[in-house]
């Protein structure tokens, strides 16, 4: 076989990889190569096959066809351990930590440090400490139970785990989805350090700005195939990337705001809300037709505020009123009856019924609308769900599929569809576009705006400052459990929000 020079210099090369699942061809022929010392970005819509591809590379899935070369030699990673031994380390999109084990046990899971069969726990703890410090997280103790950490911290632990492997190729599947801007900066610092040492990185993200900042070359996947590979990450035009990914041209991501009527009724009024722990003194008023955005760091208490408004956590102080009626504290039932809906932060543990069909996940909050005397009208449920999933472009189509088989971003759309279907007075959205691709994101913004225009009061929490500013009419900035700013979105810019968010934070 003739080997071209480009192929020789490649650390990893992939040719014609195909992976099928029952009913879906997730990868239908992927080609690309990764060179030592580069950051190679993978782009593609939700369900394009990015996560599946990295699972194949990391030995978690076996490809049905195709060739993978590692340092020029054809390899078959039968399982994650053999990939790990060759020097491939992966951070998966869906975290793969074992709750119940400590942080350091998780970091060294599968490659425990040992001498003559006895595990060296003190050493493991010391190294974990060093890795966490390197990631800028002195606040995570190696002895904590991983199950008790926040998602963001779990992501950090996953990264520490990947770093501990000391691999030649580091694969990261949407690592920034749950991180703060600050943490992303630290992550990029580490990536630069590693690439300078010759380590190659495969980086997946739906945020084009990140790809421009950290990436060297870009490969675009569409429907499980490579549509472009080796594009220069800094020079290639955004419109070109989006066109490659989606096959269409998108000019405006955020929908136009319609001015909020200052006389519109105040639908949601929150006064002096405190949970006695994470946040205190939160005041928040949302008028009909208004979208209010909550910006802040992960862990600043935004999600807790939403959950407390919704009654999923019990408030220690303060009142929540919907249409002038005070809600009973700590009662989700009361909130739902008053017309409130919450799209929770963690889709897997808080949002989805993974082993149920898509349509059942969508209608679970509005079942009574489809029922007569308690008997459900399946056909109507399917019809309504189909319409929604089509407008959100959930792929693959088909509302009878189990949610478990959908890609991360498509699962997110299913959770969102649930609340779009239910006719709410107040909609609380916690990270509604986490992991959602650019095209679908603008559909979601459009839908949120349309809901607001129909008189719904919307509260959006997002770690993406640009999103908060682009989508919301009014922005609240939350820092350490307190609202430190409240004003119209067009009177504040991204850097000011970041300043407010970070203020008093150690750099």
């Amino acid at each position: 076989m003739v080997s071209s020079p480009a192929r020789e210099s490649a650390l990893l090369s992939v040719e014609g990889v195909v992976k099928r699942f029952p009913g879906v061809t997730a990868l239908g022929g992927v080609d690309f190569d990764v060179r030592a010392g580069e950051v190679h970005c993978l782009l593609g819509q939700n369900g394009a096959g990015k996560s599946t591809l990295i699972k194949v590379l990391a030995g978690a899935h076996r490809p049905d066809e195709g060739v993978i070369r590692w340092r020029g030699e054809v390899v078959e990673f039968g399982n994650p351990t053999s990939a790990m031994r060759s020097g491939v380390a992966a951070i998966y999109q869906e975290l793969d930590l074992v709750a119940g084990l400590s942080v350091s046990d998780n970091v060294f899971l599968g490659h425990e440090l040992s001498t003559a069969g006895f595990s060296r726990r003190a050493e493991a703890r010391r190294q974990t400490r060093a890795l966490l410090d390197r990631l800028g997280h002195r606040d995570i103790s190696p002895d904590r139970d991983v199950g008790r950490l926040s998602v963001a911290h779990q992501q950090i632990v996953s990264m520490a785990r990947a770093l501990s492997l000391d691999g030649q190729l580091l694969i990261m599947d949407e690592p920034s989805a749950v991180l703060d801007p600050d943490e992303v900066r630290v992550l990029f610092g580490i990536i630069r350090e590693l690439t300078a040492q010759g380590v190659a990185v495969i980086y997946i993200s739906h945020r084009l700005a990140e790809i421009r900042e950290i990436g060297d070359r870009v490969t675009v996947l569409k429907d499980g195939r490579t549509v472009a590979t080796g594009l220069p990450a800094r020079e290639v035009k955004t419109s070109e990337l989006i066109a490659l990914m989606t096959g269409r041209v998108l000019d405006n991501v955020y929908p136009r705001r319609s001015p909020v009527d200052p006389a519109a009724p105040e639908v949601l009024v929150v006064r002096g809300l405190a949970d006695g722990d994470r946040f205190a003194g939160v005041d928040l008023t949302v008028r009909a037709g208004e979208v209010v955005g909550l910006a802040g760091l992960v862990g600043s208490g935004r999600s807790e505020i939403l959950e407390t408004i919704y009654g999923a956590r019990k408030a220690a102080e303060g009142t929540v009123e919907v249409d002038g009626k005070a809600l009973r504290r700590g009662s989700v039932g009361a909130a739902v009856r008053a017309g409130m809906g919450l799209c929770p932060e963690e889709r897997k543990s808080q949002g989805l019924l993974l082993d149920q069909a898509v349509y059942r996940n969508i209608t679970v909050s509005s079942m009574s609308a489809f029922a007569k005397f308690g008997f459900l009208d399946d056909r109507a449920e399917r019809a309504r769900s189909t319409k929604l999933t089509e407008s959100l472009d959930v792929r693959p189509a088909g509302v009878d599929r189990l949610v478990r088989g959908l890609s991360g971003g498509n699962q997110q759309k299913v959770v969102l569809a649930r609340w779009l279907l239910r006719e709410c007075r107040v909609l609380l959205l916690d990270e509604p576009t986490r992991g959602v691709d650019v095209g679908a994101r603008s559909e979601i913004y459009e839908l949120i705006r349309r809901l607001a225009d129909s008189g719904v009061a919307v509260v959006v929490v997002s770690s993406d400052v640009e999103e908060v500013l682009g989508l919301a009419d009014r922005v609240l900035v939350v820092r350490e459990g307190r609202v430190v700013h409240d004003g119209p979105a067009d009177e504040i810019d991204e850097s000011r929000v970041l300043d407010l968010v970070m203020e008093g934070q150690p750099a």
Binding site: Q350, Q356, R360, V364, F375, D400
Partner: protein, 341 residues
């Protein structure tokens, strides 16, 4: 889950599948039931071969069905509780307590003075109340289901012994016996009741909001709660429903044995859970099938019958049951892993 799901997944599969057709078949809901049907047919063949006409006799088959009816009604209720993510160890004890309460001299006296239906209501009321207590303990008292129902098991059987003074109470209400001994078009009333309960259970689980909530609560209680389902109230309803089933089973048992006794319903909890699990309902909740449960019950009852006809001991039956349970659970785990991953 529903059959349509499996079918549509197969329809849209243009690519060649490498899996063996057997495991693909087992993967679909219809396929799982096929497996159970095959098992049942094999058992019956075994019965015919070893016991000949003594097995393949209308009277014998009706006996199997009448035996299956009582534990079957309990198992249908159990399917709901397990699908909803729970477990109930107290069903046998609840059956015993209900049977005793419904056959005390006092209850029988009232029944003879008024109508035999009084006994039925008494049993249903006692069973339902026990279920309510279980549910409340688990949902609002936050006691683990295993522990709460273990406690009920002990308490209910103890109470049954106290009430009956450990004596078997013979039923002497003519109307009661006449009604339940009758047949409808040759089918014993007990079997008709089981069929009705199974059909009602299927509709309730697959066609109503109650059933849909049961799947949601069992599949992911936190997501169900945040979706606006009152998980605790639903849990109480699930256990109460099972309690009612136990009450009904008690009535059927009284009719079959013409007695009420604190020893009724021994090991029903194991038989019911086993039938539910081999039927294909996931012990961890979120997936459940009524048809599977019905097959599970028939398989176990037929097995006992074949063994009894061949004069094999109860102990041998127990071993065979154990083996069947293990095989069923192994199969389930394979399926779970295939759909997971």
């Amino acid at each position: 889950m529903s059959e349509d799901t499996a079918l549509s997944a197969q329809k849209s599969a243009p690519v060649a599948k490498k899996e063996s057709s057997v495991s693909a078949l087992l993967g679909s809901a219809a396929g799982r039931n096929t497996g159970l049907v095959v098992a049942l047919v094999l058992l019956c063949l075994g019965g015919v071969i070893t016991a000949g006409d003594r097995f393949a006799d209308v009277d014998n088959l009706l006996t199997i069905l009448r035996l299956a009816a009582v534990i079957g009604v309990v198992s249908i209720g159990m399917t709901f509780v397990i699908t909803g993510g729970g477990i109930d160890l107290s069903v046998g004890a609840i059956v015993a307590l209900s049977s005793v309460w419904a056959t005390t001299l006092a209850t029988q006296g009232i029944a003879n003075d008024t109508h035999w239906i009084v006994m039925v209501f008494t049993a249903l009321l006692v069973g339902g109340a026990c279920g309510l207590v279980n549910g409340a303990l688990i949902a609002y008292g936050r006691v683990v289901a295993f522990i709460a129902t273990l406690a009920s098991l002990a308490a209910a059987r103890g109470l049954a012994e106290i009430i009956s003074n450990r004596k078997t109470q013979i039923v002497n209400v003519p109307g009661f016996a006449a009604f339940f001994d009758a047949s409808v078009l040759g089918v014993p009333v007990l079997v008709v009741i089981f069929a009705l309960v199974a059909a009602g259970g299927w509709v309730l689980l697959n066609r109503t909001t109650f059933g849909r909530r049961t799947f949601a609560v069992g599949g992911n209680p936190e997501a169900a709660r945040l979706a606006g389902i009152d998980v605790r109230r639903h849990t109480v309803m699930l256990y109460s429903l099972l309690g009612l089933c136990c009450g009904l089973a008690a009535v059927m048992l009284i009719a079959r044995t013409t007695t009420g006794s604190a020893t009724h319903g021994g090991l029903y909890e194991l038989d019911a859970i086993a039938a539910v699990v081999i039927g294909g309902t996931l012990l961890s909740g979120g997936r459940g099938t009524i048809a599977g449960t019905v097959f599970g019950v028939l398989i176990f009852t037929t097995l006992s019958n074949v063994f009894t006809l061949n004069n094999l001991s109860i102990s041998a039956q127990a071993v065979a049951k154990g083996a069947i349970i293990v095989i069923a659970v192994l199969l389930q785990q394979r399926l779970a892993r295939r759909s997971g991953a």
